[in-house]
């Protein structure tokens, strides 16, 4: 669970992290103000299955695709990238096209956020 960019609001990320914890996931929390490079480095060191990006500050069109790009560069594109936060409607298809597997917007029930991962992220063999 990572907070890219200058956005300093992590209540959402923490709530989502906790929902995953309560569903039996191990969640590594990055803390605030991470660059895409730092997030990717952490994802690789921790060998995670998925990176969840939280952004409420409007820089998602740069930050989210950059994370996907860097993972690919490092040969770690088997790691699924998801995003959550506040996004203009029209950005969502663009983000998905850039390789972000799913986008969650405000009001999404926690169950749905957790359920999506259980359904779409394959545990490694």
């Amino acid at each position: 669970m990572a907070k890219p960019g200058l956005d300093g609001h992590d209540r959402g990320a923490r709530i989502i992290a906790r929902a995953y914890r309560d569903a039996g996931f191990e969640v590594v929390y990055s803390g605030l103000h991470q660059t895409p490079e730092e997030i990717v480095q952490a994802a690789i060191q921790e060998d995670v299955d998925m990176v969840g990006l939280s952004s409420l500050a409007g820089a998602h069109m740069y930050l989210f695709p950059r994370v996907v790009e860097l993972l690919k560069e490092k040969g770690a594109d088997d790691i699924v990238v998801c995003g959550g936060g506040i996004f203009p409607e029209e950005d969502i298809p663009k983000l998905k096209k850039a390789g972000i597997k799913e986008i969650f917007t405000p009001g999404t029930p926690l169950k749905e956020v957790v359920g999506w991962v259980e359904e779409h992220v394959e545990p490694r063999q």
């Binding site: 914890r21 569903a23 803390g31 103000h33 921790e46 060998d47 490092k74």
Partner: protein, 281 residues
Amino acid sequence: MRSDTSQITEKVTSGDVRAAAKLIRDIDDKVPEAREYLKDLYPFTGRAYVIGITGSPGVGKSTLVDQMVAHLRGNGKTVGVLAVDPTSPFSGGAILGDRVRMQRHSMDEGVFIRSMATRGHFGGLTQSTRSAIDVLDAMGKDYILVETVGVGQDEIDIVQSAHTTIIVLVPGMGDDIQALKAGILEVGDIFVVNKADREQIENHRRFLQASPERTFTLQREKAKNDLIEMVKDRIINEILADIVNSGEFEEALASILEKRLDPYTACDTIISKRVKTGMSK
């Protein structure tokens, strides 16, 4: 797809982060092949200096580790960090938040930080952590800092895996009777009284100086404890699973539920079939 053993060893010993990270995960998930990889890596271990950092939750272990990493990097040393956080006893999930305090090192190629969950193990350190230390060691890290889960009075596993154990304390956490007690205060090589700008710092320092000196842990003791833990782990994971999955176990369980058999006799029977000597008569 898994590469073969020698390839893994080659990658890890040449410092490949991805390979090491995956191996640590296999170790944590108790993937059987991980043991083969560890056997192959073993000759490359034993070179790193292992420092354990332990203490109660919130005393500043992660922050201290962050500072130590900065210092060691300043001296040109490479560093591995293993940071353990607790697993939820209810869901089995965990929030691993120690990285938050070590953010500034995340882009440093000379630092490898890995979070681990306790996964139900008590004692402050897991068997997986011990093996993960070996992986970082084989990667060629000069120093390995192991930050335990926040501990209380009696979780002293770290002593068996570390060359030096640091206990982090804060003022106001107890009087001289606490300092007199057995357990965690006996095992520290270095005591760090953190948050020293708080009141009672002088008192606290005096209590600690009155604490008994730690008895020196010999290399042999360390190796012995490691081996015991490993054997214990295997017995619990493999032999126990084998017993629990057996028809005999199910039968015994049914009989106990119907009050036709007491659990003590059932246990004796199960054990005596598997253990030739020792506890069963």
